[in-house]
Structure formats: structure tokens, C-alpha cells
Amino acid sequence: MSDKRATVEEMVAELRPGMTVGLGGWGSRRKPMAAVRAIVRAGIGDLTVVSYGGPDVGLLCAAGLARKVVFGFVTLDSIALDPHFRAARQQGRIEAMEIDEGMLYLGLLAAAQRVPFLPTRAGLGSDVMRVNPQLRTVVSPYEDAEELVAMPALVLDAAFVHVNRADHHGNGQVLGPDPFFDDLFLGAAKRRFVTAESVVEPGSLGDEGPLQSVVVTRLSTDAVAEVPGGAHFTACPPDYGRDEEFQRSYATAAADERSWADFAARFLDVDEAGYWKAVSQVPGTAGGRR
């Protein structure tokens, strides 16, 4: 069996400007933040970002790398709205495909199942249909003849998810309460990247937690990287909670250009080691598990 261990930099090196990139997690929970930081460092832009949005979306908007965001919401959980995303929308700096969060689920599922669309009632009658004129409806071929939304497959060029444990072959395990849609992001993508708090010997994930918590199988993984604290500053239970103090400093950095430049210089224009050194110098931050 192939050893798929790689570095985050090697993963990101496969991205090209203009790609559609899916990011796992949900809100400010278990986001592949180390991968997002690596994308920012590499400066790969013109991206379409598909996400149950949190600071992953905000960071890519603030860095000017997101051309378009596909979302049902963007939130930081303990801070209701992400100010970087808000600013990008209010200043007209990004395109948006705003859809019901269940439609987002079905779009990923359709892509993972290689069908062009899946039918749903979600979206009917709402302005989701008005602001997304590309969306079509489909008439049931059966007796009911109902006209439903045909949610198109959201095919991704690449996807990143961050999990608690993985093995050398790319099986991934979520030890927290919610796997979210991570397996579907990978299923919908052409290049599939998993980062994990720790990467263990094949066959030993059953020692880490119940086998059904291995929600990602190696069938849907191209590369796996061990990145301790890789979801920081979002929550990654049971390994660590959200770094609320750091999240506040992230949100505050949206105040003006100078605040953002300062934040970027300290936390983004540096490598992972430099990032953790800078995080440790922020008063009151938990600094992930480090």
C-alpha cells in the first residue's frame, strides 16, 4: 500500500490560480487552517472557495485570494459574523454563490456520486433562485410531476480537511462529536488532501477511537500530512478547543488596512514555526495544543 505522507507545502504546490477549492469543517470548527495559511503564503489567487464558512473564508478574502465564495453562511461561532468576509462582500471584492446550506450538502453529494444534479425542495420560492440565475429546476418524471430545484454538482479541483488522526495511507479519523461534511468534500474533489493532528501506523486507528469514527477512507485521499495544531485557531475537540483570544485578534485585524498588514506580517508572512512563535507571543492565547 502506498505511503501518502506529504507536507502541507507539497499539497499546496499542486494548486493553480483559478481553481475551485473545498475546505472542510464548519464555521470556526475543525477548519484546515494550516493548509489555508500555506495557500496564503504561496499566494495562489483567483480561487473559488466552497465552504461551510468560517475564518478559512475570511482569511482568503482578506488576503485577496478568493475571487468567488460558494456558501450558505460565514460565521466564527462565538463571534457571529466574520468581519473580513463582510468587508469583502460590502466592498464588492468577491463574487458570491449564496445557497441554502442543505443545497451545499447536495451539491457536494452530487459531485461525489458523479451525477449532474440532485433534486430538492430547498431554494424553491426563495431569493436563492433570484441571485443564482444559473440554477435550474427539474420536473419529476413520475405521476406527481413536481417541479424541484436541480442542485448542480459542486465539482472541486481540490479539497482540504483537517482531522484528529490519520494513518500513512490516508484513512482519517474524527474523534470530536461531528464529522461535518469532510468525506463529501473529499469525494467531490479531484485532488484530495487530509491534514491531521497526528499520523499513526496503518491499522492502529482502532486504538485511538471506535472504528466508525474513521470517517475518511484512503479511497478518497491522495496525500496526508501530520500538522499538530493544524486547525488553530478553530476548535478541534477533543485535542483542543477554539483559541477565543486569538480569534478576537483575527477579527479585530479587520478594523483597517494597517491592522490587517500587521496581522499578516506577524502570522501569515511566516512559516509554521514562525506562526507558532508569534501565536505564543499573543497574551492570553491558548496556542492550540502547543
Partner: protein, 251 residues
């Protein structure tokens, strides 16, 4: 019971919204609806299903502060919630940045969607919720900027949108709107907003001045029912001893 607070009246009004629902998933957003749904389960709707706000269903009915341990009865990760939404076995009570006379709700943005003046959280699950199962709304600060004559972005679908979209009408049921001033429904002709009851101390005029859209008001509008002594004890001693409800609704 002159010492009953406005927040406590609102809690009971929210609980009443779930009356008759039986064994469905009750999904309240906001402090007062969360207390209300738990109050309903502890009194007249014992079969209601509630989540812990994370990824599990709660077997017990603890206080809303989170200081009491949750006993979990089953996992309810995010993805499974959509199975419940699409099955129809759910009643959500959402908040609304804007709401109109037909029950259209907006929590996406203010202004032109293409470049909004104010970007809010996004449509979330409102489009799917409102056409799949019972939907109610909670407005803790009733004002003319919330109740508007046409919302900027229709997230939750209102009654006027249904005639041209039969598949949206099939399971649509926007039931009530509870605010800090009263309880409203869509029982006026053409499924328009109607004042159902006034909270104690609120006048019809108060409501009309705080409402920026058409509103049907009867001369004999009743008062919202007050909490029973048993309900007050549950609210104050069991579900919200920290009085978090008073942070959402004052007076």
C-alpha cells in the same frame, strides 16, 4: 403575578408555539425560544426532541446556561439534521433581521444582494426549512427596521411566494412570530400578518408604531397568557436560574 417579567411572558409564548407538535425535533434559536422549547417539553409536550446545540440529542432537560451536564440520547451530527429537515419532522424557530407581512424572512444581507450595505450571516438553512416543515420566528426587539414592507433577500419563504411554486407550498407552514411586544400569525386574509395577542403592558398602538409593514389588528385583541405558577418555577429555578432571558428581553 404582577412581578412576571416580559421575558417570562415571551418564554411561555414561545413554548405555546410548540403546542401540539408531538414527537418532532424542536430547533429554537435565541435564549428565550430555547427556554420556551424546554419548558414545553417539561410541561405539555413531553415527546419533543431537542439537541444539545452541538451534535447530540438530549435525554434530559437541563438549564440553558450549559452549567448542568447533558445526558445524550442519540447522535445528531450536522448532516443528519438535513435528513430530519427534509422528512418534515421538525419545527424551527429562527430569528429574522427582516420580516414582512407575508412571512418572508431575511438573515442574509441588507441592501442589494450583489453588493450589500450590510452583509449578515447568510441564508443558512432558511430556504429549505421554510418549505419543508413548520417554521416560526422570534424577534426580541420588535421595530420598524425588522418588520418591513418587503425584505431585501427572501431567505425563509413567505405565503405570497407559494402560488407560483406548488412544490414549495406542499409542506410550507409558517406558524407564528413571537416578539417582545406580542404574538403574531398569518391568519389575516391572504395569509397576511395579524396580531394574535398583546403582551401585558403593550398597547395596539405600541405594536403599530413598531411595525413597518401592513398588520391586521382586531379591536378585541386578547392578552398573551401569563405563565402559570408551575411554569414560573420551572423557568426561574430549573431552566434559567442565571436569568439569561433578561439579557435578551428587558422589562
Amino acid at each position: 403575578m404582577s412581578d412576571v417579567s416580559r421575558a417570562e411572558v415571551c418564554v411561555v409564548a414561545c413554548a405555546e408555539a410548540f403546542r401540539g407538535d408531538g414527537e418532532i425535533l424542536a430547533s429554537p434559536f435565541g435564549t428565550v425560544p430555547s427556554i420556551g422549547a424546554r419548558l414545553a417539553r417539561l410541561t405539555f409536550e413531553p415527546d419533543l426532541v431537542l439537541t444539545d446545540g452541538e451534535a447530540a440529542l438530549m435525554a434530559n432537560t437541563p438549564s440553558i446556561s450549559g452549567s448542568e451536564p447533558v445526558v445524550r440520547e442519540a447522535p445528531m451530527p450536522y448532516r443528519r439534521v438535513f435528513d430530519v429537515v427534509w422528512s418534515g419532522r421538525r419545527h424551527v424557530m429562527m430569528m429574522a433581521s427582516q420580516l414582512d407581512a407575508f412571512g418572508n424572512q431575511n438573515l442574509s444581507c441588507i441592501g442589494d444582494w450583489h453588493q450589500p450595505t450590510v452583509q449578515l450571516v447568510g441564508v443558512r438553512g432558511a430556504p429549505g426549512n421554510s418549505v419543508n416543515h413548520t417554521t416560526s420566528y422570534w424577534v426580541p426587539a420588535h421595530g420598524p427596521r425588522v418588520f418591513v414592507d418587503g425584505v431585501d433577500m427572501v431567505c425563509g419563504v413567505g405565503y405570497d411566494r407559494l402560488s407560483s411554486v406548488p412544490a414549495a407550498a406542499r409542506y410550507h407552514d409558517v406558524r407564528v412570530v413571537v416578539t417582545n411586544l406580542g404574538v403574531f400569525d398569518f391568519a389575516a386574509p391572504g395569509h397576511r400578518l395579524r396580531l394574535r395577542s398583546l403582551h401585558r403592558g403593550v398597547t395596539r398602538r405600541d405594536v403599530q408604531e413598531a411595525t413597518g409593514c401592513a398588520l391586521a389588528v382586531a379591536d378585541d385583541t386578547p392578552e398573551t397568557r401569563l405563565p402559570s405558577p408551575e411554569e414560573l418555577e420551572i423557568i426561574r429555578e430549573v431552566l434559567d436560574p442565571e436569568s439569561l432571558r433578561d439579557k435578551e428581553v428587558r422589562g
